[in-house]
């Protein structure tokens, strides 16, 4: 799928269209920053990258190839990451290959598998109460609250909240594994 199908609506200022674009673009932009993971906070850089992509999208000029906005976001992210390395005086990373990262942007975006989504939702629905509460709190906060606040809202200590969240993640991974779904090792770690 060419994520540039959302471009006209994004340029028109439609946040929902940008959300649709992000659902396909986010993993690739995140992966393009992998080589910086030891020296900068990639999640912070990624969120700022996506915000800046939204801000400059109206000035984006397509080159005729698919997923042009993804490639632009990868460039924005890399430039921001390099700036962060300089600002924080971190040791520069090796193996940071922009061309390889941009090539990832050329790949067609995968369409979410509805059967996988269904399986994950069913596994989530089987969670015990407290792990489910911790998972749901993270999802509902959408990155807007830190874990201390989420724990307080659930009348848990921070450790308890984190242990319940870990348990939720691991139980979902186990459940998916039993269904024959290959899961990211880090999900079940």
């Amino acid at each position: 799928m060419d994520l540039d199908v959302h471009l006209a609506a994004i340029v028109g200022g439609d946040p929902r269209a940008f959300g649709s674009w992000m659902s396909g673009a986010e993993p690739r932009v995140r992966d393009s920053l992998r080589s910086f993971a030891q020296v900068i906070d990639v999640e912070a850089v990624l969120q700022e990258t996506l915000l800046r992509t939204w801000q400059v999208a109206p000035r984006f000029v397509a080159d005729g190839r698919p997923n042009g906005l993804v490639r632009m976001a990868i460039r924005i992210g890399r430039n921001l990451a390099v700036s962060e390395v300089r600002r924080t005086k971190a040791t520069p990373t090796e193996g940071d290959d922009l061309e390889t990262a941009l090539a990832a942007g050329d790949r067609p975006a995968s369409v979410p598998d509805p059967m996988l989504r269904k399986a994950i939702a069913e596994c989530r629905d089987k969670l015990p109460a407290r792990p489910r509460q911790a998972l749901d709190a993270r999802l509902a906060s959408a990155g807007g609250q830190d874990d201390d606040d989420l724990a307080t809202g659930l009348h848990m200590k921070l450790n308890t909240f984190l242990q319940n969240f870990t348990r939720a993640r691991q139980l979902i991974a186990d459940c998916l594994h039993k269904r024959g779904v290959t899961v990211d090792l880090e999900l079940g770690a």
């Binding site: 659902s23 993971a37 906070d41 969120q47 407290r130 308890t160 984190l162 969240f165 770690a189």
Partner: protein
């Protein structure tokens, strides 16, 4: 799926994110504190002002812990997107909140 709710695991000196490190802590055999990685792998980040603001606990992680937090974040975002009606991760939701002025 079965299992007891993890509801009462806080015990004095049990080595939480700020506590003494047991297995899995920086001083323990597992390397980094798993709960610290769990925190940093979330999409929560303070809203930037003049410059980017990192997760407050990111600096507490070793290089290996930062790598794991990165990998964990990617796995969690995929899970979150699968559970979201619009297919959005909490990272995407956080960005949309900033775009629409909700944050």
């Amino acid at each position: 799926m079965t299992g007891d709710d993890d509801d009462n695991h806080d015990s004095p000196g049990d080595g939480g994110p700020r506590g003494p490190r047991g297995p899995g802590g920086p001083g323990g055999p597992g390397g980094d504190d798993e709960l610290l990685i769990e925190q940093v792998a979330s999409a929560y980040r303070p809203v930037p002002r003049d410059e980017l603001r990192y997760h407050p606990r990111w600096h507490d992680l070793s290089a290996a812990g930062r790598e794991r937090a990165f990998a964990r974040a990617g796995a969690l975002r995929a899970l979150e997107a699968a559970l979201d009606p619009d297919g959005l991760s909490t990272t995407a939701r956080a960005v949309l909140a900033r775009i629409t002025g909700q944050r």
